[in-house]
């Protein structure tokens, strides 16, 4: 493995982990809101969240490109007012990975929240706990397995993201190159040995992620 390859691996793992952390509070809040009874606009939010899961990633990437480009609604504002660019920087990678992996976290956490016996939350309230304390001491711990599973799924999705990333971040060596982008590029230009080395790393990362989730779940089961 060359230094450049290590950097790509490091960057991909790091930005995937960061995107999982970034979407965690937002995803949990969304999952919780969706798990609760009906509110106006719920089905619209539900659909919007799941959209990146069913749309072609490249199409999602194109939407993000249009929104966050210098002439886009959000990107224009960020560039003009805050002199802050997203497109074709590492932030674009983070954005693409977050949007693409959010639905997986939300879906998994939502099911987990729905499975928490509401009676336990109610009785926690009669014991003097307000909404936040109930959420963090009862709801989240009881939904932990589903939340962890959702985080692993989101992280794995981020590791392998291709379509949306290449639209908003391009494939700029040393700046926005991720594992998937590099493997594709290596094969295109005939550097098969580099592609295979990165392939090996991907397999190891995937194994580690799945093993780690299984480990967490096993430990959780034991403490019950």
């Amino acid at each position: 493995m060359t230094l450049g390859e290590w950097q790509i691996v490091w960057f991909t793992a790091w930005v995937s982990a960061l995107s999982t952390l970034v979407i965690l509070p937002f995803g949990l809040a969304l999952a919780w809101a969706l798990a609760w009874r009906d509110w106006p606009g719920k089905s619209i939010v539900e659909t919007l969240v799941s959209l990146p899961l069913v749309m072609p990633p490249v199409a999602t990437g194109l939407i993000l490109l249009k929104l966050f480009g210098r002439r886009g609604a959000i990107g224009g504002f960020l560039h003009d007012r805050l002199n802050f660019d997203v497109i074709f920087t590492w932030r674009a990678v983070l954005l693409a990975l977050s949007v693409m992996s959010l639905p997986l976290l939300v879906r998994s956490a939502r099911v987990a929240f729905e499975e928490v016996n509401p009676r336990l939350e109610q009785i926690a309230r009669t014991l003097g706990s307000g909404g936040w304390r109930v959420f963090f001491t009862i709801t989240v711990p009881l939904a932990a397995r589903g939340i962890v599973a959702g985080m692993i799924l989101a992280f794995a999705r981020a590791l392998g993201e291709f379509g949306a990333t290449i639209m908003v971040a391009g494939n700029i060596p040393g700046k926005t190159s991720t594992l998937s982008l590099t493997i594709f590029q290596d094969v295109q230009i005939g550097q098969d040995s580099s592609a295979f080395r990165l392939l090996g790393v991907s397999v190891v990362l995937a194994f580690a992620a799945v093993w780690f989730s299984e480990f967490l779940l096993r430990r959780k089961r034991k403490t019950r």
Binding site: R119, Q122, L127, L142
Partner: protein, 355 residues
């Protein structure tokens, strides 16, 4: 303690819960068949459920007043709630469960000390265990202790004994009476079991299909049901339609099918009545010796059904009549199916309910 439940109106699936009562007893049983809206009532008091109309006041503190769109949030109500499924937190140890509702800052804000509650309910040996390693009766005690340790002003118990078998019930009842006597905490206890209500409560609210049928001291309600519905669920064994044919000097002559009984005349002048007779008030006799008992009915034994230490005797006295006698008495009299006996019922033991 005074718990005011006024203008309560809560639509449920097949009926509406409606009530207007003041609860004053130390332990009050909300008594009624399953599906009468009892749990919904507890949820309402605890603030876990909203009603279109409700005014709830505990002592001098208004908890809910829908007319003013006012409602104290559940966690500030100070009402302990032990639900039927107990709702122990499965991800916490027994000790963590117990401490969950404890106010921070030590014993100052607490009504009862941790050690005292643990001692009274005998759960010291359980504290290091996981919740799933407890037996039914142990879970029940932990749930009670957890609710008490949050220092509630009122304790709501939903069918505290329903999930336990008879021997365990007998074990848990003393703990509940200890809570009642030791901690002097008012309790509202939902039950559909007559013996449970008798063992625990001093006051009773009879709730059927969301409506309060009768309130009062437990024994009064059980012995003097105000209507046939109450009599039926309060477990009065014999309940027959009868007609008052004559009434003077406070005594009424009642005809049930072929038989004639003497009973205390009801206050109202109705002629059509339900006749309620409890099984333990029916005395069986082999020969027809003279006695002060006014009602002497020749009867035939239709069936003998042992119930624990007692035998339920089904008689045909012109109408179906049930008697409860002890097993030794049953043996001594050599009661057998098909044989004739004389059933004696004292006049005050026959309760007439207008129909």
């Amino acid at each position: 303690m005074s718990l005011l439940l006024k203008n309560i109106s809560l639509p449920l699936e097949s009926f509406a819960l409606g009530m207007d009562v003041e609860v004053r007893g130390r332990v009050t049983a909300v008594f009624g068949p399953s599906g009468a809206g009892k749990t919904s009532l507890l949820d309402l008091i605890a603030g876990l459920r909203r009603a279109p109309s409700a005014f709830i006041q505990l002592d001098d503190r208004v908890l809910t007043d829908t007319a003013k769109h006012f409602s104290v949030p559940t966690h500030q109500r100070g009402i302990g709630y032990v639900p039927q499924d107990l709702a122990l937190f499965p991800h916490l140890s027994v000790r963590q469960n117990l401490l969950y509702g404890c106010k921070p800052g030590g014993a100052a804000g607490r009504l009862f000390s941790f050690d005292h509650v643990i001692e009274i309910l005998e759960i010291q040996p359980l504290t290091s265990r996981g919740v799933t390693e407890l037996s039914g009766g142990e879970k029940q005690r932990v749930a009670l202790a957890r609710a008490l340790l949050a220092s509630p002003r009122l304790l709501l118990l939903d069918e505290p004994l329903a999930s336990l078998d008879a021997p365990l019930k007998a074990k848990i009842i003393p703990y509940l009476t200890r809570i009642r006597d030791e901690f002097r905490i008012p309790m509202l206890c939902v039950t559909h079991d007559r013996s449970e209500a008798l063992a625990l409560a001093d006051e009773i609210i009879v709730l059927v299909n969301g409506q309060v049928l009768q309130t009062g001291p437990v024994l009064d309600v059980f012995n003097r049901p105000a209507s046939a519905d109450v009599a039926a669920i309060a477990g009065v064994e014999t309940l027959q339609a009868g007609v008052i044919t004559d009434s003077h000097e406070g005594l009424a002559t009642v005809k049930i099918h072929g038989a004639t009984l003497t009973a205390l005349a009801p206050a109202t002048g109705t002629r059509e009545v339900f006749v309620c007779i409890r099984g333990e008030d029916v005395i069986l006799q082999r020969d027809a010796a003279a006695s002060s008992v006014r009602n002497r009915l020749p009867a035939r034994i239709m069936a003998l059904r042992p119930e624990g230490a007692l035998v339920r005797v089904e008689l045909d006295a012109g109408f179906p009549l049930f008697a409860l006698v002890t097993r030794p008495a049953c043996a001594e009299l050599a009661l057998r199916e098909g044989e004739p006996v004389t059933a004696l019922i004292k006049t005050p033991a026959i309760h007439l309910v207008p129909r």
